[in-house]
Every structure is written in C-alpha cells, then in structure tokens.
Symmetry: C2
Subunit: 192 residues, 2 copies
C-alpha cells in the first residue's frame, strides 16, 4: 500500500540536500542550523530526522551532491585542454568570488571539511576524485592515474586563490589574486 508516490520522499530529500548545499556554502557548516536548513527547503525542523540520521549525515550528502554538480559543470565545459582553460577562467572570475552560495564547495568549505567526521571527509574524497580523474584523463590520456597528483595540485591552487580573493578586504588585491591565480593555473596546465 503506497499512500504517496514512491518518488515523493526522495524528491523532498533531494530538495533538502540542494538547499543545504547553498546554505552551508554561504554560512559554513557550524554556522548553519538544522532549523534554518529545513526552512530553506520549505519544511519544519521536526521532519529532518525522517530523512537524515544526523546533521553530519546531511552535511556529507550535501557535499557529495555539490561535488557531483561541479563535476557535471566541468564536464560540460572542459573536454580538452582549451576547455580546461575556459573552466579556470570561469572559476577564478569575480562573479564566482561574489557568489559563495552558488559556487564551488571546496572554496567555500575546505577547511571546515578538513575538521569534519571521517564519513564526510570520505565522501569529499570520492567526489573530488571523480572530478580530478576527468581532468587527469584530458591532461594525460594514456595514463590518467599518473596525472592525479599534478591535477590535485592545480585544484589546490585555484581553490586557495578563490578563498584568498574572498578573504582579502582590498578589492585591488583581491582582483590581483584572481588574475595571477589564473596565470599560475595556465602555466601548470601547459607544463603538465
């Protein structure tokens, strides 16, 4: 006996996860309460535990979802070296810097993820590797796994640049970080 369509609850869960992705990136993990996360999804706090075992459980799911979205964006833009450069330009743009809630989860949350549970860090690792392996296959089509390390370093570089551009309160310096970060990423991609 099925009272609601079998997709109804799954759809609600997904709605919570997507709203949480935005809120967590905007306010941080510790800065986002369960009641707020549920309100963002148009629900009340009580329904939370029908969908997730704990706040940490949602955080892990939201981070995994965010990385999957980012992978899809990357794959839509970048399927060769020129595409990778285009991706870097979009990534290190002022628009991305000024849109934390719509942007990269690593840039918004990486040091908080490093402090998170092993379960969350494991989901982060898996999600990032899916992205990294796509890029590594472009850089080194014959042996993608050998390009993993170098690709990770490129991501570390653009993630750090974005965080720094957001943290500095001097607009000129912030813009310089984005510009030079882009140059650095290009150097690394070409030498790879």
């Amino acid at each position: 006996v099925v009272r609601y369509s079998s997709e109804h609850k799954d759809a609600t869960r997904q709605r919570i996860i997507e709203a949480a992705g935005r809120r967590l990136k905007a306010d941080g993990i510790d800065g986002s309460g369960v009641a707020t996360l549920m309100k963002d999804a148009g629900l009340t706090n009580g329904a939370f535990y029908a969908h997730f075992a704990s706040k940490d459980d949602l955080v892990g799911a939201a981070i995994a979802d965010q990385l999957d979205i980012q992978r899809a964006v990357l794959e839509a833009i970048a399927n060769d070296r020129a595409g990778l450069e285009a991706f870097v330009r979009v990534y290190l743009s002022p628009e991305h810097r000024d849109d934390r809630s719509g942007g990269c989860p690593s840039a918004a949350l990486l040091d908080e993820i490093a402090r998170s549970s092993e379960a969350t860090r494991s989901m982060y690792t898996d999600g990032l590797l899916a992205i990294v392996d796509h890029v590594a296959a472009i850089i080194e089509p014959d042996d993608p796994s050998s390009a993993r390390g170098r690709t990770l370093a490129v991501f570390a570089s653009i993630i750090g640049s974005m965080q720094l551009a957001r943290a500095l309160d001097d607009p000129d310096l912030s813009a310089a970080v984005l510009e030079e970060g882009t140059n650095v990423a290009f150097v690394l991609l070409r030498s790879a």
Copy 2:
C-alpha cells in the same frame, strides 16, 4: 595609584590571544566558544569582556597575532630564494599537516575568515601583506610591489594544498598533494 604592575593585564591579554590562536585553528571560529577560549588561558569566562569588546574582537586580534608569528618564522628561515624553498618544504610537510593548532592560520581558517566581519578581514589583509611583502622583496628586490600578485598566488597555492591534504581521507592522496604542491611552488618561485 597602580595596584598591579602595568604589564600584568597586557600579559594576560596576550596569553588569551595566544591560546585563542591555537584553539581557533584547531576547532574553527564558530567551533570555539568564549568559555573554552578563556579556560585555555587559565581564566573563567567572566573576565573576557575586561579584555575584549566581543568574541569577534578577540578573533581579529588572534588572527593578527598568528600572522605576525608566521612572519617571524618566515623571516628566520627565508631571506633568499634557497630559503624560500626551505620554507615551502617545511610548510608542505606531513608534520605541518598533522599539527593544525600549531600551524598556519590561513590553512586552518581561510574560508571562515572570508565569512568574517570586515574588521577581521582587514586585520587578516594587513597581516598577510606583511608576509607577502617580505617574500616579494626576495623575488623582485628592485620592485617588490610588482611581485605582490605573483607572491599572493604562490601563497594561495600552498594554502590550498595544505587544506586539501588535510581534507582528503586517503593517506596516499594526501601525501601526493603535499609532494606535488611542493613541486608546483618550486616551479612558481623559479619562474618568478
């Protein structure tokens, strides 16, 4: 009429700031409560507001202090290009990765700083610039300010690498990030 030596209160304030530096880097800004920060300094929560106007006030002071310490460490190690490479090796070492509370405030807190008050971001900007300008003067002795952008990009890269090495839950990948991050930093320093 002076009941306590004029240095007594200043010394206590400094003790709170230094203890807070360690705690904030370990547990994050939102993750560190005022009562805990005071206990770390051997005091009770009530004395806090005799030293600081608010938690945010202490956070700004602690971040400025941490950056000043890091500047002193850098200046002790790195006064030429070989010294900069030595600094990068120490920075991107497994020991630094595994010692969040004793390490770099940017690696521990950068995305939380980006979400902080303008006052805190301003103190961060000033503190980081003092470090950056020391490095820029080594890279480009004739015109240090022209090397600021490039130097900021190098810091963004090593900060991002450290955060990523801490977030990944696979020890081999984490080690690879540190290794490749070091290679990348060397490439950037040599081409600068």
